[in-house]
């Protein structure tokens, strides 16, 4: 059914799900929600499974005219949200009806917010996913960010009887200084003192920060003396910290499939959500951890989402 008409699109609002997996060998990157935790939380609060398509809202949010009955939730960055002029809290589900006007403002803290509706945003499945990959005009709403006048549909689904709120301790904090946990490799052997520099310096997020990658500025990371300037191009996974010859690190993200420079370390998958909320000017540090610790964090995070699911069901 018809759900929203876009009155103002915001700075970049796209349809995303958890990503398009299994096609990277063809050069198709996963795309998907950059802050996967907030994305899944929005879906659970809206009474969905974790992977229904939702809106990823970057920096300046959209203004939407509501066209149908619905049940929605907004998570992620802290944004001013108003329904018919009245402020709405984030991380809590709410009802909407035809004629309502949902205005999502500018990010006050963090950068990306997620708006999920019961039933999910209804766009065609392309190669197994509803995520938008704008560089190839693939998936999502016509392969592009939303524009004024677009009409979005939602899938079937009856609104739950009660609204639900996320337990406060499950809401991730949004500090302006973040610490990303990372595992050395795959090419940590091409670095010597570079490893100590990366794990002991503060880096600034530059304006060149998007869904492909985040370029950082700070203490330059040198390659080892005998190391080659570049490596034979190989696929990159999200979180890879690539060091080009200039020495300024780049965190590779979800719309990147290959890289030709050595990757000194890889940010753990659980911390990509933190990158998603970092904006130009924010400060990033890297903390070295082991694979075992990373897997423990991965399991813990899964348990947080399980707790949220239970909280929603028992609301």
């Amino acid at each position: 059914m018809e759900m929203f008409r876009v009155l103002r699109p915001g700075s970049s609002t796209t349809v995303q799900d958890r990503g398009r997996f299994g096609y990277q060998h063809l050069g198709v990157p996963p795309a998907g929600a950059l802050d996967d935790f907030s994305f899944q939380a929005a879906n659970l609060l809206a009474g969905n499974g974790e992977n229904e398509a939702a809106l990823e809202i970057t920096f300046q949010g959209p203004t939407l005219e509501v066209l149908g009955e619905g049940y929605a939730a907004l998570t992620g960055a802290e944004m001013d949200v108003a329904l018919n002029g009245l402020a709405l809290p984030c991380w809590r589900s709410f009802r909407i009806k035809p004629g309502d006007r949902l205005k999502i403002g500018r990010a006050r803290r963090g950068l990306r917010a997620y708006l999920a509706v019961k039933g999910g945003i209804d766009v065609p499945l392309v190669m197994g996913s509803r995520s938008t990959y704008t560089a190839a005009s693939l998936g999502g709403f016509r392969g592009r960010p939303l524009a004024a006048g677009d009409v979005l549909f939602r899938g079937e689904g009856r609104s739950p009887a009660k609204t639900a709120a996320c337990p406060v301790d499950l809401i991730p904090p949004l500090p302006g200084e973040i610490t990303l946990r990372a595992i050395p490799g795959p090419q940590d052997d091409l670095f010597e003192e570079g490893l100590d520099i990366l794990f002991s310096s503060a880096y600034e997020v530059t304006p060149e920060a998007n869904r492909m990658g985040y370029r950082l500025l700070g203490e330059k990371v040198p390659l080892a003396h005998q190391a080659p300037r570049s490596i034979i191009s190989e696929p990159s996974l999200p979180g890879g910290v690539q060091i080009p010859p200039g020495g300024n690190p780049i965190i590779l993200l979800l719309e990147q499939t290959v890289g030709g420079y050595a990757k000194i370390a890889t940010v753990i998958s659980s911390d990509i959500s933190q990158v998603a909320q970092a904006k130009p000017g924010d400060s990033i540090r890297f903390e070295r951890i082991t694979l075992q610790e990373a897997h423990r964090i991965y399991r813990d995070r899964k348990r947080l989402l399980d707790r949220l699911r239970e909280a929603v069901l028992s609301a």
Partner: protein, 241 residues
């Protein structure tokens, strides 16, 4: 059909975050090393270890992506080492050869003259040298379906543009240093464009969204402009011209 030569030296395993394991068979762009990559991909396809979600083959390595809730890097490594024991008995099917029609020069290949002059050749020689080899597709990436090809003639090596074009039309065939490739979708790019194919290399609506896969062979076939236009209409790619 051929057998992959046995090597005493095992691969190098490298951690790629908390979900990835990189398996490296050598440090060179070399058909024999690439055959080992193809062989492991084939073995993974036949007997996918528990918890392995996908794998991506490259020039000389393969990345395995796994689910940390189901398995771990050590278990994936053990499973890969067990699979590699089967490599001497594996018979790799002959790679498919994909023919790509290309109209060289003119407005479809605006840098053909530059490539010719840079290498002291005339445009017809560039075309001939570019069509002669059977290229190996080592990897797909950069944009959906972009093939990284091995086998460009040393006489065609040409540096990239100093300032990349903001938009290169889909189907453009280019040269960058010792590499040649095809842009499957319109994208920014700095390769020297010598021609264009009317084929739609990437179409997400097709059962096979990309016309070829890593490990296949590729041959360029020169076609005249009227043939290009005819095929472009058939392919529905004429709107891109």
């Amino acid at each position: 059909m051929k057998r992959v030569p046995w090597t005493e030296k095992g691969p190098v395993f490298r951690l790629a975050g908390d979900r990835g394991l990189l398996i490296e068979f050598g440090d060179a762009i070399d058909p024999e090393i690439n055959d080992r990559v193809r062989a492991l991909a084939r073995l993974l396809e036949k007997e996918t270890p528990e918890g392995v979600a996908e794998w991506i083959a490259t020039y000389r390595s393969l990345i395995v992506v796994y689910d940390p809730l189901q398995t771990g890097a050590d278990r994936v490594k053990e499973a890969v080492l067990r699979l590699l024991l089967k490599m001497p008995d594996l018979v790799l099917p002959a790679p498919e050869t994909v023919m790509i029609p290309v109209c060289y020069g003119g407005e479809l290949g605006p840098d053909l003259k530059f490539v010719a002059e840079h290498n002291g050749l005339d445009p017809a020689e560039v075309m001939k040298l570019h069509c002669e080899p059977v290229y190996r597709i080592y990897m797909l990436g950069f944009t959906p379906g972009f093939p990284f090809l091995g086998g460009l003639s040393e006489r065609l090596v040409t540096p990239r543009l100093t300032s990349p074009r903001l938009s290169v039309p889909a189907g453009s065939v280019g040269i960058a240093n010792d590499q040649t490739g095809i842009y499957p979708i319109a994208s920014p790019g700095g390769w020297r464009l010598i021609g264009r194919t009317p084929l739609r290399l990437f179409d997400p609506g097709r059962a096979n969204p990309v016309l070829f896969k890593a490990g296949d062979l590729l041959k360029f076939v020169p076609i005249p402009r009227d043939e290009f236009d005819r095929l472009a209409v058939r392919e529905g790619s004429h709107g891109d011209v």
